[in-house]
């Protein structure tokens, strides 16, 4: 149980930090039919997009590093359901889901993966480096942990401009051991920056499990020295994610400073495409897929409650597969960047 707030209550002008209840399902987190369907669509888009990216990597159409988000879809989907217009998102290199979640065009994202001129970064960034100011998505950063001070800086700008926006800054359990994360925590609490730090704990920093890398595996407590409240959240349940993100967003938006959400999640695929994942058992992965899959949870609820039929959901899946197929087709046939592009965009 990641309940940490005792110190926070004494210094945050008497307010009580957001509380995690014993059971997220009993926390007013129930979704309406529309929310369930939106979550289903958004998570399924990420799932199908990533499956296709994996296939295209295997076909040699995508080069370099390619880190898939399969299994973690509920995290970004639930958080973005809690975001307000203008709130920023920034993350590390496992970023395809965040880009789609922020509303970036799947064709532009896929074309960037294949290194084409119509890619989101004109073919100059690749999988780990895409951005969209229009969608308030600030990357896509390849150096583990570097996005944490950057996201704190985006939040600094929000406070400077008093625009009421917050920055959702994502990083993994591995990045949570980088020093610059704690430099950021200190400044963020000191200056009450409107930033939600979302630690996506998928249990493995590449091949190193959290128990082998982290002296304290309850990541919601990582802000304790800085008086930053934190919560552990079932990151496989999109309703729990949205509810926690809503509470954290309100905390930040009203000037109470940063908050940490540890999203307990799981990636089904390897760290990157080249990872055989021998550091964990197939049974462990299989058990997670069968019992905790974020998309299957929503599907089951929709069917059980008769808010949607099998046929309805098949139609949604078919529509999403069509979007992804179109993106893949586009990304496979777009031309590479013009050779003259090598010299452009270095300086403004």
């Amino acid at each position: 149980m990641g309940l940490f707030m005792a110190a926070a209550t004494s210094t945050n002008r008497g307010k009580t930090a957001p509380r995690k209840t014993q059971n997220a399902r009993a926390n007013g987190a129930a979704f309406s039919k529309e929310e369930e369907l939106a979550a289903f669509r958004n998570m399924l888009l990420i799932r199908r997009f990533e499956e296709k990216a994996g296939q295209m990597y295997g076909m040699g159409l995508i080069g370099g590093f390619c880190h898939l988000y399969i299994g973690q879809e509920a995290v970004v989907t639930g958080v973005i359901m809690a975001a307000a217009e203008g709130d920023q998102t920034i993350t590390g290199y496992r970023d395809h889901g965040h880009m789609l979640g922020c509303g970036m065009d799947p064709k532009a994202v896929m074309a960037e993966l294949t290194g084409r001129k119509s890619g989101a970064s004109k073919g100059k960034g690749g999988s780990m480096h895409m951005f969209s100011k229009a969608n308030h998505f600030y990357g896509g950063h390849g150096i583990v942990g570097a996005q944490v001070p950057l996201g704190s800086g985006l939040a600094f700008a929000n406070r400077y401009r008093r625009n009421g926006n917050i920055c959702f800054t994502y990083f993994g359990d591995g990045a949570a051991n980088q020093g610059q994360v704690y430099e950021s925590f200190n400044m963020a609490e000191l200056w009450k920056l409107p930033v939600v730090y979302i630690i996506e704990n998928n249990r493995y920093a590449m091949g190193t499990s959290v128990t082998r890398s982290s002296a304290l595996t309850d990541f919601s407590k990582r802000g304790q020295s800085f008086n930053i409240p934190g919560e552990q959240v079932d990151g496989m349940d999109v309703r729990a994610v949205k509810a926690a993100a809503t509470r954290a967003a309100e905390w930040c938006r009203t000037g109470d400073g940063p908050m940490i959400l540890e999203m307990q999640t799981y990636r089904y695929r390897g760290h990157s495409m080249s990872d055989p994942a021998k550091y964990r058992s197939k049974d462990e992965v299989q058990k997670m897929r069968e019992e905790r899959d974020p998309i299957e949870q929503v599907r089951a609820r929709l069917l059980t409650s008769k808010q949607a039929s099998e046929d309805d959901l098949k139609k949604i899946d078919a529509a999403i597969r069509a979007v992804v197929a179109e993106a893949a087709e586009f990304a496979s046939h777009e031309p590479e960047p013009d050779p003259a592009e090598i010299w452009t965009d270095v300086l403004g």
Binding site: K122, K133, Y138, G139, F156, Q180, M187, L347, G348
Partner: protein, 438 residues
């Protein structure tokens, strides 16, 4: 026994100061620890304390005296019962040699000029740009309440308040990254490093986040940020605090690297850097902070980034330098003139993008070139200049290009070794003569 009280130094690089006020008068008894006088520089004020008991028998430098050189005797204290000795007048403060001549073509001739230290010029540049644009703010260690570790941000907190003049914890990696994030959001941060030695803690953010993101985003993201602070050797602070980073940053596409020498350039270039849409590394020098130069009056004086300045015209040999290296180059040019050699001195002002054209044109005229820098030789700025000359002016050379650099060792502490490790005027003069075969 009579003891001379000497003018103290407030910092490793202080050369002279003002004797503001005597708090004791001749004939007063003093106890060890009593405050005798107040002295000031443009950077700080300090009290001079007696270090033994006795009588203040003579004040050698009166209240209100400016430009008192460090180590000048300012008073005599005698233990009780001793005779007052006749003491001569103090030695005159050694005049600082300011061999910069003129400030190049960037300044219109009809412009009214004011005399400013480099420190004041930098402060004025920031204050003017902060008045002009609310998105400009300064962030760093001790920039606000302390007014800068080297007093470059004097008065800024008072004028602009804590929203825009932000003291940070000691956390270079963190606040560099935070500044870059704010720049991604469209603000224009000035990030002060107390010295660039500490910016190595922030190197990943400067290189990987600030310099590369525009390219990696296909120009969607801009990073209008200035990283500034003292760079290079100060005095007697040894290897970890004495390093010239010009060559390091100049290696990186996506950065601009600026190294002013004069106060006019410090002001005009810093204003340009703050307005620039790209990350700019602005390398200052602690020793130059107190040096005074003529600066155009008014708040509209800009010096373009990427343009060198012919600091002194000549025809026999080209001396190329930047920052404090110009001090050696200009003094060497003076000395060479006395020996009948006409040296042209080029102040690069910007290391990246480098104004190769000005260098090449000069070398085509003189046929000879010496580079001068305090940084190390291997892969240094001089090495880059030599390569450019090989590529574009090889046929015009009458002698090999030579470089005068800091010695290829970490900076030693001992005064004599430190002096040896830095370049000096004699080395520049000798090199110039060598390429002239004289």
């Amino acid at each position: 026994m009579a003891t001379n009280i000497l003018m103290p130094a407030l910092s490793p690089t202080m050369e002279k100061g003002r004797l503001a006020k005597w708090l004791k008068k001749e004939g007063d008894a003093v106890r060890s620890g009593d405050v005798l006088a107040e002295i000031e520089t443009d950077k700080a004020t300090m009290e001079v304390e007696a270090i033994e008991d006795g009588t203040l028998v003579k004040i050698l430098v009166p209240d209100g005296t400016d430009n008192v050189a460090v180590n000048t005797p300012i008073a005599v204290i005698e233990a009780d019962g001793e005779d007052v000795q006749a003491l001569g007048p103090p030695a005159p403060a050694a005049a600082l040699s300011e061999s910069a001549k003129g400030f190049g073509p960037a300044i219109p001739k009809d412009k009214a000029m004011v005399t400013l230290s480099v420190r004041e010029a930098l402060r004025d540049a920031m204050a003017e740009e902060m008045r002009r644009d609310d998105s400009v703010f300064i962030i760093g260690e001790e920039v606000a309440e302390y007014e800068g570790a080297y007093k470059v941000t004097q008065g800024l907190l008072q004028e602009f308040g804590a929203r825009r003049v932000v003291d940070t914890p000691i956390t270079e990696h963190g606040f560099a990254g935070l500044g870059i994030g704010a720049a991604f959001a469209g603000l224009r941060p000035i990030v002060e490093f107390m010295t660039f030695n500490f910016a190595m803690q922030a190197m990943d953010q400067i290189i990987n986040s600030a310099a590369k993101t525009r390219y990696m985003s296909g120009a969607q993201m801009d990073c209008p940020i200035v990283f500034r602070g003292p760079n290079g050797a100060a005095a007697r602070v040894a290897a970890q605090h004495s390093q010239d980073y010009a060559a390091w940053y100049s290696h990186i596409p996506g950065l601009k690297v600026v190294t002013p020498y004069t106060a006019a350039d410090a002001k005009g270039l810093l204003k340009s850097a703050i307005r620039d849409p790209n990350p700019v590394i602005f390398l200052e020098n602690e020793i130059l902070y107190g040096h005074k130069f003529e600066v155009p009056a008014g708040d509209d004086f800009l010096v373009p980034i990427g343009k060198a300045r012919i600091a002194r015209a000549g025809k026999d040999v080209t001396l190329v330098s930047f920052g404090i290296g110009m001090d050696y180059a200009l003094k060497a040019a003076d000395e060479l003139e006395r020996e009948g050699v006409s040296a042209e001195a080029i102040d690069l002002r910007t290391i990246r993008p480098m104004d190769s054209e000005t260098i090449i044109q000069s070398v085509k005229k003189t046929g000879r070139c010496i580079t001068v820098e305090e940084g190390w030789p291997q892969s240094g700025v001089g090495a880059e200049i030599m390569a450019k000359i090989m590529e574009d002016a090889f046929d015009y050379l009458d002698a090999p290009v030579m470089r005068i650099c800091g010695k290829d060792v970490p900076m030693p502490y001992a005064a004599n070794l430190e002096k040896l490790a830095l370049p000096n005027v004699k080395e520049v003069v000798q090199a110039a003569k060598a390429v002239l075969y004289r």
